[in-house]
Point group: C2
Chain length 335, copies 2
């Protein structure tokens, strides 16, 4: 039985999302058990079926607008997010799912779940929609504003194991996010990273990947520092959202557009779905001794179920142990 700790008070809608999602997930996957860390008085009325679901009561929750994540994690140890993460650390759960504030998730993962001893950095890894329908892993997008080549190397190994074991990509291709395709492009650190990754055993490095290619991407995994990754993801997200708004505006602006919409409604829905990553359900935090999945703050219950599924699949695939088995080889090579 896979035990999943859920930050039930977290996110924009708290128990309204997490409790229905937990019930759906338990019904759908018979090999999971869920522990809800949250406000019992609010959870109980929603919990119409408590099979394989337990509650650990806490009223505390981290604010979605939290400006000082380090202080918040240190001072609010009874917050639902902190308790769920601590349960992972103490082997009371195999994985943690949260839709709490991103920087608190990163800090909490670091302080409460803790890094694998072989990983010098952790990374936040979302899944980007792609033209071919297969989401791509981009990391880091916000755990570290700067990363050295050797950090990118161990994160690339971690992500390659996930791409293979959870997403079924054989010999996953790893790219370095950069401003040109040739080696020698970018800042000094990007040049160094290129040559480091090129020589690194245990990954299938295919060279630089330009941001123009990110949604039609030749690599399965793309690595970069958290500042650059964040800029890139947010630019993609903003463009997709604004283009969607523009399209809706143009369609609604005339009778022809409205009639046309009736005919191509299904096509436009499929288009919208292709640009969404709801089915993946969340981003992963890489580099930890346990599985941590971060769902969007505004996730609905269906999306949150997918985040729970992602956590379950990470545990089923035994990703952490497989990463641990690969990493020491790299250390030998680097030495």
């Amino acid at each position: 039985m896979i035990k999943i700790a859920i930050d039930a008070n977290g996110g924009d809608f708290g128990v309204q999302t997490t409790v229905p999602a937990a019930m759906m997930a338990v019904k759908k996957y018979d090999n999971i058990e869920v522990i809800l860390y949250g406000d019992e008085a609010k959870i109980k009325p929603l919990l119409t079926n408590s099979e394989r679901i337990t509650i650990v009561h806490t009223e505390q929750v981290l604010s979605m607008g939290e400006k000082d994540p380090i202080k918040a994690i240190r001072s609010q140890r009874d917050a639902s997010l902190c308790l769920a993460m601590k349960a992972c650390k103490n082997n009371e759960a195999d994985a943690c799912v949260t839709n709490g504030p991103t920087q608190c998730v990163v800090v909490g993962a670091h302080l409460l779940v803790r890094r694998l001893p072989q990983m010098e950095r952790i990374a936040l890894c979302p899944f980007l929609p792609n033209l071919d329908g297969n989401p791509r892993l981009l990391l880091d997008v916000g755990a570290n504003v700067e990363l050295r080549p050797e950090h990118l190397g161990s994160l690339a190994i971690f992500a390659s194991v996930v791409a293979k074991e959870v997403f079924g990509r054989q010999n996953p291709k790893v790219g370095l996010l950069n401003i040109g395709s040739e080696p020698g492009k970018g800042r000094e650190v990007d040049k160094e990273s290129y040559y480091y990754l090129e020589k690194l055993e245990g990954i299938n490095f295919i060279g630089n990947v330009e941001p123009t290619e990110m949604v039609n991407c030749p690599a399965d995994v793309v690595v970069t520092d958290g500042f650059t990754g964040n800029i890139c993801t947010k630019a993609i997200e903003g463009t997709a959202k604004t283009m969607g708004a523009m399209l809706t505006e143009e369609i609604k602006s005339s009778l022809g557009g409205k009639i046309g919409y009736l005919f191509m409604r299904k096509n436009l829905k499929r288009f919208k779905k292709r640009m969404s990553t709801k089915e993946v359900g969340g981003a992963l935090v890489f580099g930890l001794g346990k599985v941590v999945v971060k769902a969007h703050g505004n996730s609905d219950a269906e999306t949150y179920v997918n985040a729970i599924r992602l956590a379950k699949e990470m545990v089923e695939a035994d990703v952490i142990n497989k990463v641990v088995n690969v990493l020491p080889k790299v250390d030998e090579n680097a030495a």
Copy 2:
């Protein structure tokens, strides 16, 4: 009469684009004169009207795939791009328009046109499409992989003059591209830049702008280093292009989609036009003693005419002199 030097051999289509564009521009704007730097034997058959157009013959051209721009600019001084830029430097022209390879344009601008003495760096500044229809200035997107706060400051002043004098924005708002809206976000250099720009006189700094906002942007001008700017622009460009391809694919995938298309053809064309910056015509190189406009390598003649118009408007607005008048004040404040 405004004299515009044109790199006639440049771009993906050479004289096939530049010569028709020159004739159209001269017909449209009676206060310009064009000097075509290019292959006379190829230009003459296309030049059906040579009023206010002269030819300076050269067969040399910089390759669009040039890998070593510094060597290329130094060794091919008779290339059409180099001659057009040199004409600016020597006051034989007021502005230069080129659709040559970007890095050669940057290096050529630096070595042949030369910086204003008050500007420590030059920057490449494209215009990004925006939800409200008013393009935004983003710089730098590729002239320098790293920029110090004081470089961003003088570039912000330059761009503010352009936004006001050429694009009619009153008291143009300047933003810093960053991964969060609050001060204190980003790398060390971003934090320093924030506090530097906040105190800088001569600009209207509104704080950080996130990449999610770039195509629906609260600022008129957004500054960043050339690496980050390039990542952001390319992510926007790639997403817009891929989404366009996905939309076309979905529409064509069923009869309903095709019928719907007939009804909303005009709406979809307007949508496509809103995501395009063809009407601006090109990117500007900021920080120089003369106006340099860089059109896309694959520009058609209409887009190239817009690049010529942009050059003309920059000269008409007397941007360079206005920048020179503003800059010394900054030096006094900084001292």
